[in-house]
């Protein structure tokens, strides 16, 4: 551990907060229809979209109409993406398939399509050996934008439900979606993409280049329109890399500076949404309280991850390596890490990406120490409310807030109420089911995959003999259920002997189980969040009295953290024990 490593973590928290606050103010203006400085640029395209799509943006929808629009739109997106990916050679005429890749098999494509629709971006494939530039651009990048837009729309709809005092309307899905794409996602993506190219990321449509190195060995380098996709991959907490090794690849993440920028890009909208919420709810302290909850847990996770990775692994020590920091060497567990990021830059990225639904990686999670690998698992076990994905983090933590208010109300013997509205049986039933869907999906899928021989097929050969194999499986379904997308990448679903997918096949069990898990654990909670918005919208607001439990003070922050940790721990502790905790506690090496 080094001073600069700790400084990186602290500076990150500070800069994130400083960026998120003005972004929150800006987004509040965007979603309440107030003027912003980008209006001259986007007003006309916005009107054009509404005209072409036959949308009446003034038409306010109730929760069922909102949900219906969202589901039908997502279905359209799913069908189009599946079509694009399964007809990859059909688009060769665009010149955007210079390597002439064929389509991946139906089961892998099912998994990939479901994955990108649900903001997961779980990739059983490697980008540079499977996807044409057209697929990456017109297929995957599009869903990077749209899945982010859908997530944010749901969060905004829930906020409107919580604060809404008249009628059952929670907004217009189409307006929220278009506004998000135009005012929020596009401008920031452009800025980030250009920063990346400036630092060395690539952006071209060239063939892969072949060459002979100085010693005469033949080699090739993959190319493509990387920076544009990389920017929205991080900004929309998607996580699907252009290349197989994701943000470890020098073309996706060339320098220590871009590493810092990418991490900020991942968290800036989730953090900004919290401040936006405070503004829209007319109670900024409420936003600060939720932000504080998230920041405390985030910082804790960073500390554990950094210390664990700096320590080094039993395998390293058994081989005789010394893992202390010495002059000129990073020390620590450098297996599956890049030199330019070091231990702190990798551990921090790993935490950033797993507290949200991003799932991009700049280091191999499978190679982390036992405890170091338990941190992303713990982050996922908290159902990604520590900042969380764009939109999903906020609506998930708001469900936890309602739960905490309910528990708090029980403890003091008062009717629970939040921002003046009574939380009654109907609300809490929806909240409870909404919060349990994702953990249950993760655990059931893990159990099924571990118990059945078809499921165990996916475990990597090196891991099959010990707790690592369980960790791989558990992480896979935990990640897919939480729509994260990071992986213990030895866990397979696609066997690809050649680049371009000829002669390849998918592992149907893993592909389908994963695909359904992602779809279920994304859309079911969305429906419940919208239903909660629906029951709260237009509810009578009673003024705060002497007995009202405050939700914007440090006591509530402690209560909220307690509820999140308790629910996560009770649900996942047994599973965590079987995998990463065993690995962390033992120096034993498994075959």
């Amino acid at each position: 551990m080094t001073f600069l490593g700790w400084l990186t973590i602290v500076l990150f928290c500070v800069v994130l907060t400083l960026l998120a606050m003005p972004l929150g103010r800006y987004m509040a203006a965007v979603y309440t229809g107030q003027p912003t400085f980008l209006d001259p640029l986007f007003r006309t395209p916005e009107r054009l979209f509404y005209r072409v799509m036959r949308v009446d943006p003034e038409r306010s929808q109730d929760w069922k109409q909102y949900a219906k629009s969202l589901i039908i739109f997502s279905l359209a997106g799913w069908l189009l993406l599946y079509f694009i990916l399964r007809t990859q050679t059909l688009w060769n005429w665009t010149g955007l398939n210079p390597e002439g890749f064929h389509s991946a098999p139906w089961n892998v494509t099912f998994n990939t399509t479901s994955s990108f629709l649900t903001n997961t971006n779980w990739q059983y494939y490697g980008g540079e050996t499977t996807m044409s530039y057209f697929s990456q651009m017109a297929g995957l990048t599009v869903q990077n934008f749209l899945s982010a837009g859908v997530g944010i729309a749901v969060a905004v709809a829930l906020i409107r439900g919580i604060i809404g005092r008249s009628g059952k309307g929670i907004g217009n899905f189409w307006q929220d979606l278009i506004r998000t794409v135009l005012w929020v996602l596009t401008p920031i993506s452009i800025v980030v993409a250009l920063i990346l190219v400036f630092q060395g990321s690539i952006q071209n449509f060239s063939h892969y280049v072949n060459f002979n190195g100085p010693t005469g060995l033949a080699n090739s380098i993959a190319m493509g329109p990387v920076a544009s996709q990389e920017a929205i991959k991080e900004l929309g907490t998607n996580g699907g890399g252009f290349f197989n090794t994701n943000s470890a690849h020098p073309f996706e993440n060339p320098t220590g500076f871009t590493n810092f920028v990418e991490m900020l890009t991942v968290l800036v909208i989730p953090a900004g949404l919290v401040f936006m919420y405070g503004r829209m709810a007319g109670n900024r302290r409420q936003g600060y309280a939720i932000f504080a909850t998230m920041l405390v847990m985030f910082f804790g996770a960073c500390c554990v991850a950094y210390v664990a990775e700096a320590h080094g692994t039993p395998a390293q020590h058994a081989a005789g390596l010394h893992t202390q920091v010495v002059a000129g060497s990073t020390g620590g567990n450098m297996e599956g890490k890049e030199q330019r990021f070091g231990i702190a830059g990798s551990a921090l990225f790993d935490v950033v990406t797993t507290v949200t639904s991003c799932g991009a990686v700049n280091s191999a999670i499978e190679s982390y120490t036992g405890i170091g690998g338990a941190v992303p698992m713990a982050n996922l076990s908290a159902s990604e409310v520590i900042f969380g994905g764009v939109g999903t983090g906020l609506y998930s933590i708001l469900l936890y807030v309602l739960l905490a208010v309910f528990i708090g109300g029980l403890m003091v013997g008062r009717t629970p109420e939040y921002l003046g509205k009574k939380i009654e049986a109907r609300e809490i039933k929806l909240v409870a089911i909404g919060l349990l869907i994702t953990p249950l999906a993760a655990l059931f899928s893990t159990a099924l995959a571990t118990a059945s021989s078809a499921g165990r097929q996916s475990i990597s050969a090196a891991a099959a003999g010990g707790p690592q194999g369980f960790s791989e499986t558990f992480y896979a379904y935990l990640s897919q259920a939480n729509n994260n997308g990071s992986a213990f990448a030895g866990y397979g679903g696609f066997v690809q002997p050649n680049a371009g997918s000829l002669g390849s096949h998918g592992i149907t069990f893993a592909d389908l189980l994963g695909g359904f898990t992602m779809l279920f654990a994304r859309y079911a909670p969305i429906l419940f969040a919208l239903a909660v918005a629906g029951t709260l919208a237009g509810k009578r607001v009673s003024p705060a009295g002497l007995g009202t439990m405050r939700t914007d003070n440090p006591t509530f922050v402690v209560l909220l953290i307690g509820v999140i940790v308790l629910v996560g721990a009770l649900t996942f502790f047994p599973a965590l024990l079987l995998g990463p905790i065993v690995q962390g506690l033992t120096g034993h090496l498994y075959q």
Binding site: A138, P214, N219, G320, A462
Partner: protein
Amino acid sequence: MKRDIITSAIGILVLTLFCGILYPLVITGISQVAFPGNADGQLVHVDGKLVGSQEIGQNFGLQVYKNGKPVMQNGVPVTNPDPRYFQTRPSATVPPNNAAATTFSNLGPNSVATEQEISGNIQAYIALNGPYYPGKLRAANVPVDAANTSASGIDPDISVRNADIQAHRVAAVRHLSLAAVMTLVNKYTGGRGLGFSGEPGVNVLELNLALDRMNGVHA
């Protein structure tokens, strides 16, 4: 319902045009004009021939021959490290440092396979650099980045300590002074982002090409 279907169908198409065609084209257009070298991958040419990218690590090895024929293992050429050049980090791509099919090693923290891989890398490193190193090179003084596989498999950098150890071999084999080699190492050592983010790394390709220029191997 019907309204939603029509709006969805049209919407997905126009949004695909906007986000999937227009947006990447705009970024590509600006990038190719403003940062053409970067946008194409910081490719490096020597004597008019492409020898790699500044951002991509390479295998500086020599093909092993047996009876005049190149030795292959599973269709992959077998190589030995070229002692004249600095070597990059261990790589899990097939063949090593294949920048068209990057992959992680995915070796876990508690497995025998990992320990064997690390030991193998340590032995190779000591065999290559030990004879030239003042004093005895043991596992305990091998820097972690030389024994552990990189994440991308094409890590262009090595740690400063790794470079320092290899410098002894390179200087001896090329008949250069150690000081001259170390000057080059320092020249191609990159700093941290904004002074704090990340770790310094020595760019192996640039360093090796500079050595070739110094030895008069290439113009």
